[in-house]
Amino acid sequence: MRRDNQFAAMPSFDHDPVPDSLPAAIAPTVLRVADAVVMALPEGGLWIEAARTLVVSDLHFEKGSSYAARGQMLPPYDTAATLTVVEALVRRWKPERVVSLGDSFHDMGAAARLSSPDAERIRELTSLREWIWIEGNHDPVPPLHLGGVVRETISISGLVLRHLPGDGDAEICGHLHPCAKIAGRARRVRTRAFVTNGRRLVMPSMGRFTGGLNVLSAAFQPLFPDGMRVHAMGRDRVYAISPTRLVADISPGGPRWRL
């Protein structure tokens, strides 16, 4: 990451100029993407106030059972746990519209493996408001019997919402599962994160069993050639992370230091 990008890493504020004392609990979650103001939520969702739209990404329902079908008996509770978070967001923000930004279902057979209580919870969510399933690479054809409508992309408040990154101009996308590893004095913390350059925003994955890709990994380079701002999900709020604190992964499949 380039040092000269440091100031760009500051959160941009909607109306006020830089306040004297930072309203720490709120300010960092307010982001500007192109001409739209969005709020990054600590649960991993995105709130677009102007359109009263809640965006959630990469829910990967039934990831656990997809492993079980191949002989690794992961707990079958991931869908329920993910739904609990989505339901809480819906209760709190009362959206008129919810967009699930693709890879909502871990695979093509996922909907068939849903337990009936989980399927019922999804139907309840989709029936009470406008619900849009964006097509993902894991679920190119999201199931229709659970309610909601399927779109390849959708435009809201001047933003394009899509699963895979596109041309990067005023877009919200998912797919990459960004994750930040942050060095502290006591230890390192790894947490899901929003990544943006002010024109494009990549959402964290919300599926309970989804892994993450370190934001320093090579996959993010072409998306943010001039640097990125990382907003990491804490327990109760989203933190804007100083780029100097970010560290790379060296775990399986992760990125390497470049020689």
């Binding site: 913390v189 399986p252 230091w257």
Partner: protein, 847 residues
């Protein structure tokens, strides 16, 4: 010296010299051919060797306890060799007669080599082969079709056999199983796995006998129970001379804290120079690296001193071992990798750096010197700090008194049980009740109840989830009464993941070689010679350009590529020292008891080195010396904070657990604790409020264990690591999968995510139960803490002091302080990183 001549009967012959009174027994047991062979060597079989052979020929299960150098290994094979020598002609079809299992691959190979001499010289025509993870696939297949008479292998290979087709037929003619170094195998999960394997062999071949070979242990009967319900103990008479143990009282000042022993290096070096060949034992790999480096810089005479620990590349270890056996070395700095019974050469001195932590371990290590029973072994203990002086003294006294300590008998782990159940299904299959009976015949599982067994089987079949969600994905299926793996692929996946050891993620350390780079072009870097493996967690703390100590060299990290950490040799006076998870032994309860006695009894003080004696005397004057069954608690203010220090002497793990529990309780009492630090001997807690007014008896009441333990445990990092091991061992997650064998690092799924979800949705899941049991047993020393708390109940001596006491100094100097409120630390790190950003951007006043 040629190894084949000296093993397995111990150096200079494991037999007695003639005329020592065992002739009668010998003539009854040994066939002429064997007696002649012993005679041709000028030896006579020892009574315990003959007794074990006789028991073997009667088909009895036996545990032989003999000190190092007692000719155990030959004893274990005698009955088998006799039986095989009585065969009239080759068998109709080749069958396996004897299976030998050792904890180390190297030991199996060593024993095979050493058995060769008698077998060849007596012309027994017995075929002996080894089978380890290194055995080529072609030979393994051949061994299955055409087994040798004697097969030498490891516990993992046995589990693999059992999980293969036709396992029952392969073992049906097995007559004897020999388990070597059984005292080293039995106390862990590998021992659990092996005990289940032995139970299966007992089913497959009811006529088979089981022979355990063990070094001297505290409780032979417990080890015999592990071996089998009917195993007898055979004890070799202790003909050895008491080892000669000295404590090095350094000319230098003994430090208050720390474990490096750096101050004693010149004296250690002198001792090496004076001896023929010295083994220097240290307790951790980091210590090994550090000490080796220090010795090397003190090495004015260019003595041949080498380094040996488990993280070094195999080739490098083999080179050191060969040089030792060949007498080419003066000294080797080593960790417990050399603890076990391989006799590498002519060692005449053992130096133990730091306290040995247990009398039995010390004896094992001393046994490396003068590997024969009729000569005294020579050992020097080098305490690295003041408390260790006491501990070394206690260990020395214990060795003199011939007392031993040992691990408590364990209850078999459930993740291992799950692995075994799947293994049985992948082999010939099992019937439920028969398998239950079989498992209950394995020592560690004899208390298993049917309900737990059913839960484990259900876990293996469908994951053991409450709603039976995965009923259609059964991993094992029932045909008639027999459960087998659902398909060949699942069986293959299981076989690829057998084992009880979950290694930390490791990277290979390789020398970087540079290619190209002429004319201002950037050089390309390639991975060159491999120096060994290092824990990924350690490398993660470095950035390229940092230096660290490894394999006895100072290395500079160039970068990471694939699974390799690329390095170049460099010189840096202060390289980082790698830390390794585990590898630290807690002080044995038994030595702790001796240390407490010693401190309490002024009559023993004059035997201590002057600085240590003075230290204890000043402690008595400034604070108090508690009676051995009391617990001293001190409180004092210091630098604007208030301290509480107590001295349970129960080991770092138990103290850490106590520290966590006490800080939680103190928080509720409004003392506002800030942190704590635990050492092997003491625990110190600091807070914002004065703790002197608290009721210490109430604070330390044993009910503290019920308070927060479970909750804290579940949130702890340790618990997640433990759960990961359980998830891998039990087969919930497969480390390796068919078609992806190459890298060997296939855990693509975060077990932390599973843990969190399972905890909130099914807190009584069998795998959580397994992980909690592991944590309570091994990681937190809860049992020990509970014993201590009930022992000192009503016997707390509180000293409210105005300043720090002499005893408190070492623990206050300890590193590895824990901050209170671990769950908040993550948020603090995030907030901190954000603060940084704000500071950078706004340039806050004062920055």
């Amino acid at each position: 010296m040629c190894l084949a001549e000296v093993r397995p009967w111990g150096r200079a012959g494991g037999g007695l010299k003639k005329g020592m009174g065992a002739e009668i027994l010998q003539s009854n047991v040994l066939p002429q051919r064997f007696a002649d062979w012993f005679a041709s060597r000028g030896w006579m079989a020892r009574p315990h060797q003959l007794a074990l052979a006789a028991a073997g020929l009667r088909g009895e299960d036996s545990l032989l306890i003999a000190p190092t150098g007692g000719g155990k290994t030959l004893a274990g094979f005698l009955a088998s060799l006799i039986e095989l020598s009585r065969r009239s002609g080759p068998p109709a079809r080749p069958v396996l007669h004897t299976l030998y299992i050792s904890p180390l691959k190297a030991l199996a190979v060593d024993v095979a080599r050493n058995l060769d001499a008698p077998v060849t010289e007596m012309g027994l025509g017995v075929r002996i082969e080894t089978r380890t993870g290194d055995t080529p696939a072609a030979r393994r297949q051949r061994q299955r079709a055409n087994p040798p008479d004697i097969l030498l292998t490891t516990p993992e290979q046995l589990a693999l056999f059992i999980a293969s087709d036709h396992a029952q037929a392969f073992f049906s003619d097995l007559r004897c199983v020999v388990i070597d170094e059984i005292h080293a195998l039995a106390p862990g999960k590998r021992g659990d796995l092996l005990s289940l394997g032995l139970a299966t062999l007992r089913t497959f071949s009811p006529g088979c006998r089981f022979v355990g070979l063990s070094a001297t242990v505290e409780d032979p009967a417990a080890l015999a129970r592990w071996l089998g319900p009917e195993a007898h103990v055979l004890q070799a008479p202790d003909m050895g001379v008491s080892p000669q143990v000295d404590i090095l009282v350094s000319r230098e000042r003994i430090p208050w804290a720390g474990h490096s022993g750096r101050f004693a290096v010149p004296e250690v070096y002198e001792a090496i120079a004076r001896s023929r060949m010295t083994l220097v034992f240290v307790n951790t790999r980091s210590q090994a690296e550090l000490l080796f480096q220090e010795l090397w810089s003190a090495n004015a005479d260019g003595l041949a001193i080498a380094l040996h620990h488990g993280s070094l590349a195999v080739e490098q270890r083999r080179r050191v071992e060969a040089a030792m056996a060949g007498g080419a070395l003066k000294g080797v700095v080593c960790t417990s990798t050399l603890d076990l019974g391989i006799d590498w050469g002519d060692v005449d001195l053992v130096i133990q750096m730091g306290a040995p932590k247990g009398a039995s371990r010390l004896l094992q290590r001393i046994g490396r010197a003068n590997h024969r029973m009729d000569e005294a072994s020579r050992a020097i203990l080098v305490p690295t700090n003041r408390f260790e002086v006491l501990e070394c003294r206690a260990a020395e006294a214990a060795v003199e008194a011939g007392e031993l300590d040992g691990p408590a008998e364990r209850t078999g782990a459930l993740d291992i049980l799950a692995q075994h159940v799947m293994g049985r299904a992948c082999g010939d299959g099992f019937a439920l009740t028969a398998l239950f009976d079989e498992i209950c015949s394995a020592g560690p599982y004899r208390g298993l109840d049917w309900e737990t067994f059913e839960r484990v089987v259900d876990f293996v079949a469908t994951g053991g989830y409450a709603l039976r969600t995965y009923d259609r994905f059964h991993r094992i299926v029932r045909r008639g009464d027999v459960w087998t793996a659902r398909n060949a692929q699942l069986a293959q996946q299981h076989r690829m993941n057998i084992g009880a050891i979950v290694e930390a993620e490791m990277l290979s350390v390789r020398l970087a070689s540079f290619v190209g780079g002429r004319g201002g072009e950037r050089k390309a870097v390639r991975a060159g010679a491999r120096l060994g493996d290092i824990e990924e967690g350690f490398i993660e703390t470095l950035v390229p350009g940092d230096t660290f100590l490894f394999a006895g060299r100072v290395l500079r990290l160039i970068g990471i590529e694939e699974q390799n950490a690329l390095v170049v040799p460099t010189s840096d006076p202060e390289p980082a020292i790698p830390t390794y998870a585990g590898g630290k032994f807690p002080l044995s309860t038994f030595l702790a008891e001796r240390v407490r006695q010693m401190i309490h009894d002024p009559a023993q003080w004059p035997a201590l080195p002057a600085p240590v004696r003075e230290w204890i005397e000043i402690q008595r004057e400034k604070s108090a010396i508690p009676p051995p069954d009391h617990l001293l608690v001190e409180t004092f203010p210091r630098a604007g904070r208030f301290y509480l220090v107590c001295y349970p002497f129960e080991g770092r793990l138990a103290h850490q657990t106590l520290g966590m529990l006490l800080t939680r309780r103190l928080e509720r009492l409004g003392a506002r604790p800030l942190g704590f630090v635990a050492s092997e001997y003491a625990l110190a807690i600091w807070s914002l409020e004065d703790m002197a007014g608290l009721d210490m008896g109430r604070l330390m009441a044993p009910d503290i264990l019920g308070d927060d333990l479970e909750e804290w445990l579940d949130e702890s990092f340790m618990m997640k690591r433990t759960f990961r091991a359980c998830a891998l061992i039990s087969g919930m997650i497969a480390r390796r999968q068919p078609g992806a064998e190459k890298t060997g690092r296939q855990v693509t799924f975060s077990t932390d995510l599973i843990f969190d979800v399972l905890r909130s949705h099914q807190p009584d899941h069998v795998l959580l139960q397994a992980a909690r049991a592991d944590a309570a047993e091994g990681l937190l020393d809860i049992r020990r803490l509970a014993d201590m708390l009930s022992r000192v109940s009503g016997r707390i001596d509180h000293q409210a002091l105005t300043r720090i006491s002499p005893f408190a100094v070492p623990v206050m100097l300890e590193i590895g302080r824990e901050r209170v409120a671990g769950a908040e630390v993550g948020e603090a790190v995030l907030a901190d990183a954000e603060e940084d950003l704000v500071r950078d951007a706004f340039g806050r006043p004062g920055d």
